[in-house]
Structure formats: C-alpha cells, structure tokens
Symmetry: C3
Subunit: 152 residues, 3 copies
Amino acid sequence: MSAEAKLKELGLTLTQAPSPVAQYVPAKQVGNLIYVSGQVPFRNGKLEYMGKVGAERTPEEGKKAAELCALNALAVVKSLIGSLDKVEEIVQVRGFVNCTPEFTNHPEVINGASDLFVNVFGEKGRHVRAALGAPSLPRGATTEVEIIVRVK
Amino acid sequence: MSAEAKLKELGLTLTQAPSPVAQYVPAKQVGNLIYVSGQVPFRNGKLEYMGKVGAERTPEEGKKAAELCALNALAVVKSLIGSLDKVEEIVQVRGFVNCTPEFTNHPEVINGASDLFVNVFGEKGRHVRAALGAPSLPRGATTEVEIIVRVK
Amino acid sequence: MSAEAKLKELGLTLTQAPSPVAQYVPAKQVGNLIYVSGQVPFRNGKLEYMGKVGAERTPEEGKKAAELCALNALAVVKSLIGSLDKVEEIVQVRGFVNCTPEFTNHPEVINGASDLFVNVFGEKGRHVRAALGAPSLPRGATTEVEIIVRVK
C-alpha cells in the first residue's frame, strides 16, 4: 500500500505545513536527501502541546506531541515534493523532549514519531534515531523532531 | 554581489577561525557538503558571550552570540576552501541556546545566526533549521551553532 | 596498522552491538555514509554509566562513558559492514553530556569518544564535532553519542 493510502487508512490528516517565521525554510533537498527543519507540535497554526514531560505533561502526552511533530515533518516533505509516495526511506530522526532533569523515558516519548513513520511507510520507515532531553524548547513546545528523508 | 563583498559591505570581519583544542577538526568536506564543528561565540581566542539567556544574558545578547557563532562557522568554511564565494548554499543550521528551563524564545536568539547567513548569501543563505535549548554549553558559552554548507 | 588490529592492540573489545528496543535501527547506509543511532554507555546489555556529570558523576567517569558510547557506535558499524577496516573516515561526532546547569567541561568529557576514534583510526579518525549539555538522557545515561562514518 502506498504511503499516501496508508496515511488515509490510518485516519491521519496532514496539517498545513507550518511556515517558518524567520529566515529559514521548512525543508531543503540536496541530492536525494531532504533535510527537514525541527518541527514542534503545531496543529493548524496553534501549538497543541506545551510544557515539560515530568511536570505539566505526561509521557503519553509527550508521545502524542512527538507524533504530531512527525506528521508536520511529513507535511513539510509533501509540500516540497508533491507526494509522500516519492519517499524511499526515512533515514534519520532526532527527537528532543522538553522535560525535567529527572525524566528518563525519552525513548517512549519519541516512539510517537518512530511508530508513525513505520505505520505509514512500513519497513522503509525504520530509521536511525537519537532521543534526547532539552531543558526548554521554542515557544514552550513539549517535543521537537528533525528528520532526514531519502527520495527517488 | 559576492558573499565576500557583501561581508565587507556589512562591515563584518571574520575572526581567526577557532582551532579545536582536542582531537577533532573545524570542518570536513564529504562530496559537495562541508560539515562544520559546533561553534561557540569566540572572538580572537576569547569567549565573548558566557552565561544563560533568561538569567545572566538577555535574548538580545543571545542573538549577538548566535551571530558570532555564525561568523566563526564562516571563518572555518573560508579557511577550508579559501573563499566564501565558493559556497553554493547554507543547507542546515542547528542552534543551541544555553538558557533557563523557563525560556521559550529560542527562535529569536538563533535568528542572530540565520539573519547573518541571509544577509551575506541572500536567497542561497536560507537554510533548514532547528533551534533548541541546552542546560549548559562548553566553557559556559551562551550559544552553540553547527552548520552544513554545500559548495561547488 | 588496520583499525581492527589497532583495536586489538589497545585491548579494546567491541561489546555486542546494542539492539534498539523500538521501531528504529542501529545504523543506515546512504551512499557512502553510515548514520549511526545515538549510543548510550551500555556494556553487555547493561547501562554502565548513569547519573549527571557535576552531581553523581565526575568528568573522568563521563569521559569513560563517552568512550563506551563510541565503542558501541563502532560495534554497530561493524555489525552493518562486517569490518572496521572498511571505514574511510569518521566524519562527525555529536556528544551530549547529561549534566548539571553549572557544568562547563563538556569538551573534556566528549574527548573520551574523540580520543578513541583517533586512537583506532589515526588521522582518518579525526572528525567534525559538537559537544553539548543535556538536562537528562534516555534511561538516565551519563552520555549519548551520535556519529556519521564514511566507508569505501
């Protein structure tokens, strides 16, 4: 099944690709790699998850935030190349969790992004990953996710 | 106008490219991409901006720190390839802000780097970006900026 | 001397390449670059260094943790391509130190990884680097290290 069809089957809707508010661009292609800017959990122009995991946010909410970051990253890729069916593989995912110094379950939070990529792209969605903590993120976002994608 | 001429017009001087004090190198070229080591706000061998944004440092000072990191990254690129006029585009900028857990204006701080690249390179200076918080940075630096550049 | 022989001479043993516990993979090759997932200081399935540098851990322990992360990254590369002698160069190292907000000696900690790469690969082991602080890391790990390697 194609990635676009799978996305539909999963009932997932790509939100409007968030526009950077500064001198940068959402994505850039170099050769067959697309580098995507760090995505925060915006939905329709509003930040849906703010606050720190371990304080205002549960790990489960963090996981949903990471999933939304991943969806936004896909929206950005789609707006650059027209269709997610042109994606050959998700190469790399780097996920930052806005959390307290005591938090240790970053992998479970960033699974929200990783699971989405595998659900949509199957084996091609499996990627190299780093999950990390951050003391704070832009606008107070709960998570931030960067990806590199290989296209045809 | 060429990047070198633009730099001169803006009255910006590349400081001496900082030398790593360990077993690493300032930059490496692989194919047509140059990876640059994380730069902190050194000027002539002295760290110009130390301390956390939200505590000892204002966001405006953080922005100037990020600009200086960006200048140092360009100095490193120039010392590797001889002239900034060989730069085809700034591909990616990753900026870390040494800040308090309450800080949320990372994008404005990292704009110090982003604006510099666009001022010097115009449209080719627009890049993919991630802005993130860090609880601490090497030597107490206020910001750290990593870039990837594409060359001819 | 080959990297494999050097590793033996140094008395270093690659631990079993850690298996990701989620939907991601330890490493991926794109063209002649291998991207390696963020490695934490596991040895034989057990996290050997937990806790923050500046609190529960000394910088010297952090350095050993970073070395172990680097060894794990090499184990991952070897399990992907069969032999470290196929490594052309270590391109990039990004090291995160789980530390207190007051800590400033990140470079010395991440030298644990950098020194290992140079000891094993000589001049080809010298890399671009970023050393950063993190307020927390997965499972409470003391360090996390990501690398990019170029192969033949």
